[in-house]
Amino acid sequence: MRLDIRELGQFNHLASQGAQRAAASLSQLTGVKMNVEVTDVSLVTDSVLQETFGGRNFVGVSVGLEGGLSGETVLAFERERAETLQKLLLNKAGASQALAQSSVSELGNIMIGGFIDGWANHLHEAINMTPPTYLEAKGTRILPRETLHAASGKGVFLFESRLEAMNVDLDFSIYMLPEYQEFVDLLSRSPSEPAIPANKLRAFDGLAKRGAHRAAEQIGMMTGMETSVNISRIRFVPLTGVPAQVGDETMVGVVFKLTGMPSGYLVILFDERSAKSVASAMMPGGMQEDGIGAMTEGAVKELGNIMTSGFIDGWANVLGTSIEHSPPNYVHDMGSSIMSPVVSKLGQRQDYAFVIDSAIEMGGQQGHCDIYALPDERELAKTLSALPSNA
C-alpha cells in the first residue's frame, strides 16, 4: 500500500478549509472573530498523544463518523476556555448546567458538520455523523478508547487545526482521527509519485526520534546538562504555515543545508535565555558577555554542528545513504523570519513538507531547544521506499 503524498496534501487542504468553515460558524454563534492558525497531520503513536494531551483538563465534544469516512472528530477546549465559551453562547445569567452543556455540544456538532463537508464532497460520498457527546476529561481520555488502542499499535493519523480567537482567550483545537486502515486505503486509491509505503511509516517515525535523541545526547556531552527529548513528531504541513507555527519569539540558532539522500534543511533554535545557558555551560570559565554576542554565536554554531552531525548520522545509518551538511548559518531573529527563507527555498519544489519537529529540554529548566528537519519530500519518499521491509 503506497501513500500518495499529494493526496495527503489534498486531505490536509480539506481539513484546513473545514477548520475555516468551523471558525466561521463559531464566529456567527458567539460574535468572536476566529483565526485558523495552522492545520497539520501527523502519524502519531500513544507516546505523542501523551505529550500532546497529557496533564491538561479538557471539555470536549466528540462526534463519530461513518460512511465515506470512519473515525472520530473531537473538539477540545481547555476547561477555563469552555467556561468562557458557555458564557458567550448563552449570554444570560441563570442558564442551567444542562443548557450550558447542550450549547457546547451543539456548537461542536455544528462546527464538526462544517469541518467534514468538504471531505464528503471530495469523496462523493455522504459522511454520517453520530449525535455529539459532551465530555469532560483529563489528558488523553478526551480521545475515544479505540483511538488510544490504535495509537499503541500501528499509530493514528491526527489532523489538528488550531483556532485562535481575537481579543478573547478562546483558543482551541479540532482533532480529526480517521480510522487508520480506511484512511491508508483512501491515500492509496490512485497511486502517483511521490508515495511512501504505508509499512514504512513506523520506520520514518523511529527515524525522527532517533535523530532527536542523538542531538540531545550531543547537547548533554557538550554542556554537561541533563537532556531529554520532550516531543518528537512528524507533521505534514503546508509550507506556508511553517513560519507561523514556529512563532514570533526571538530565537538564536543555526540553519544547515543538507545534501545527499534526502536533501533538505535542518534548523536548530534556542530562545535567547536558553542560548545563553548552553553557551555559558560550554565555556570552562562561564560566559563573560552581556546579551547575545560573538561568544554565544560561536558556542551555538559549534553545538549546532555537533548536533546536526548526530542527527543526520542516525538517519544515514538507517537509510543506508549518505547525507552531508553545510557549515552553520547563524541566525538571531524572530522564529518566523528565520523559517521564511528556508520555506521559500523548499517551496520551489513542493507545497507541503514533512516537518520533523523535536523539542529538547535541558536539565533543571535551564533551557529548551527546538529542532526542525525539513527533507525534500520526493527524495524522502524514494529513500523510505528503498528501505527493507523489516527496517
Binding site: 456567527q28 454563534l29 443548557l99 447542550s102 455540544s105 455544528i110 458538520g113 464528503a120 449525535p131
Partner: protein
Amino acid sequence: MAKRVLIADDSEFMRNLLREILAGDFEIVGEAENGVEAVNLYEQEDPDIVMMDIVMPIRSGIEATDEITTDDPNAKIIMCTSVGQEEKMKEAIKAGASGYITKPFQKPNVLDAINDVVPA
C-alpha cells in the same frame, strides 16, 4: 392564522434558539428530541411545517422525514442541519424534505426558508 410549527432537534440549545426566532410569527405546536418523537408528534399535531434536524439519536431526521412523507406526501419539512454535504442533501430531498437551512442560521434565513416552502 399563525402557521403551526413542529421543532425536532436533539439539542436543547438549538430548540431554544428556534423557539426564540419563531415566537410571535408562528405557533409552536411541539418539540421533539429525536426522530421517533418527531413522527409521533407529527401524527398528533398535524403541523403546517416541521423544522427537522438531521443528526439526532434513536432515529435520524432523514429517516423521520421519510416516514412522515410516506404517510403524508404533502408534509412540509425543512431540514435544519450542520451538514452541508451534497450527498446528504440528496438523501434529504429523496426522503421528501421540501427545503433546508444550514446551521448556524439567523432569523432571516429561517423565515426565508419557511416562506419558500409555505408562502404566507
